[in-house]
Symmetry: C2
Subunit: 342 residues, 2 copies
DNA sequence: CTGAAAGCGCTTACAG
DNA sequence: CTGAAAGCGCTTACAG
């Protein structure tokens, strides 16, 4: 491809002049500007990105480090990020860590931290202006030391200490909203199938708190026997449901902390000649595609992935521009999707 | 971050020597090599990617242009590409075109071609070593003129004339396999719900041919009354099914060209008190996540997305290295997933 | 308004 | 085995 130097000689001006035109400087006569612009058009000249940024110290590129692109949440988040980035004239360079497919979902392992660190190093060597970390679920991000030198924001996860901006869903509020809805539909005895019983999992603990708040507000009892964990999988949901029925049958509604486990509950119910949505109300969380294909379609909470992604990019660009942001702890509410299962 | 020059002076050698060490040249004494390596370790020095590639004319970066990251197929394809790229020491820079969300799925429009071209230009300005185009479905890619100068491969779509390598599923063979399976299960009168009746859509025409071949091989009649199109959507599948029943009831099985339309068929069947999988066999195509959550779970064809992605990257790197490839027309077979709907 | 020159951080012959 | 120097393709003061 043609180079600045060649272009300049073709135009009969210096490279400095062409460069000034390219960069919209106002110190060029209209006449030469037009001539040069026309020749640029004709030749299809495009400035060499590497050379330009080597000199200008600004790449207009942000690094996207992704836990796992196979996570159901990743495409929506990425789309949101990319949308905003593109609108602002930024590019994205992407790296995927394969948390699930390679590291068996152990974000706290040393191997994984090393992978993240290697990825960050790579991004820094590319001189990205900032980094967005796109998590597969709300785990605690502990990898980033302060020394990186470029702004980092975390999408869809959190960080103890809130040193970095994190943009995530409001698990507490969302669970509260769902529980209110369940109660309003007449359910007083609500069983819960959570994911993993762990303080490290914010999805879990926050949703539990939101649930309890709603129950208490309606003076309803939170029965610890009605709480099982299904490990976030369909299979796990099935087994948790089985355990639930062994402990008690004194409930009318099962609130699952994700849609996959709700599907497992459907499986169990059908297998035992109970009808989800009729004999037992079932609610999910995530609004995955499959939730609308269950029979009956599942009432669930929609996660605003695109919005979280967009917001993350927004915050990052603000930081890159040296602007202040209000808080590092940004939460976006989910939306209740009413279908036929409650 | 520390620079080569600083590093060299810290080590008391010239920058050329450090550079040689960095690039694994053998013309450095073991002694100084070790000393320098240690200091590199200590300082955490990383070469500036821009400077390096500006000089070396090789970026080890490939551009990924994506029709729409929201397409169900995109994450799998991207994952496959990234896997192979990473293993070979390549990076990916990504750009998404939003065929669905912005351009309303009109890949043949001028606006869309322009967007693609702008994207390619951008990639060229970044000096990527090659480009992979990741399509959302098998449309005809006509955008790329020969002049780009870097190798391009197309994943999940085709190109009339086969000037560029395309890696896609074998629609003909896959449809043939499914039809054989249906026949083997005892079905002689099979209805088809296709997507869009268009020669431009290879998925459609190839699958139809595969179907017909299998039918003919078993001396079964292909009844044109038993063919409807559902526009690839759930809603469309529902309506196509409705039309089907208006025309005839003389069939025992409905083969839908994607899972979404099969779900629409389920909807119609349930609404009319017929049981999918019992009264009528239903088969899908894609093996989307939701297909396993239908009641009963759907028999379908699994698309080897990861493999298509990997193969695309493989072919691209071969081209980048100037190696020959056997053919530009690469097809990967799908796998039959037997569930309960047939 | 225009251009000569320095320099961004590297790699690569080449000389010693 | 080691280093001085040219140059990749740009931008940015600065002089005129």
């Amino acid at each position: 491809m043609i180079t600045l130097k060649e272009l300049a000689s073709k135009c009969g001006v210096s490279i400095a002049t062409v460069s000034n035109i390219l960069n919209g400087k106002s110190n060029v006569s209209k006449q030469t500007k037009e001539r040069v612009l026309k020749i640029i058009e004709e030749t299809g000249y495009r400035p060499n990105f590497m050379a330009r940024t080597l000199r200008a110290h600004k790449t207009n590129t942000v690094g996207l480090i992704i836990d796992d692109i196979g996570a159901f949440s990743s495409p929506g988040l990425i789309e949101g990020v990319l949308n905003h980035l593109e609108a602002q004239g930024y590019k994205a360079i992407i790296e995927t860590l394969r948390l699930y497919s390679k590291w068996n979902n152990s974000p706290d392992s040393t191997e994984y931290s090393n992978a993240v660190r290697a990825s960050v190093d790579e991004m820094l060597s590319i001189k990205v202006d900032g980094i967005i970390f796109i998590a597969a679920h709300a785990h605690d991000i502990e990898y980033f030391n302060e020394y990186t030198g470029v702004p980092i924001v975390i999408a869809y996860a959190y960080q103890t200490g809130n040193k970095l901006p994190t943009i995530k869903i409001d698990d507490f509020e969302s669970s509260y909203i769902m529980t209110k809805h369940l109660i309003q539909k007449g359910h007083k005895k609500i069983a819960i199938i959570g994911g993993v019983n762990s303080d490290k999992d914010k999805h879990e603990s926050d949703r539990l708190e939101g649930f309890e708040k709603a129950m208490k507000e309606s003076s309803l009892e939170v029965n610890k026997n009605l709480l099982e964990n299904g490990g976030w999988s369909r299979e796990g949901g099935y087994k948790a449901c089985e355990r639930l029925f062994k402990n008690s049958t004194d409930f009318t509604c099962i609130f699952c902390f994700n849609d996959l486990m709700a599907a497992g509950v459907y499986d169990y119910l059908y297998e035992n000649n109970k009808r989800p949505g009729k004999d037992y109300a079932v609610a999910g969380f995530d609004n995955r595609e499959m939730s609308d294909f269950l029979t009956p379609p599942l009432t669930t909470m929609e996660i605003p992935l695109e919005e979280i992604g967009r917001k993350s990019a927004e915050v990052l660009l603000k930081k890159i521009d040296g602007k202040e942001i209000d808080t590092n702890d940004i939460k976006i509410p989910c939306r209740l999707i009413e279908r036929k299962s409650v």
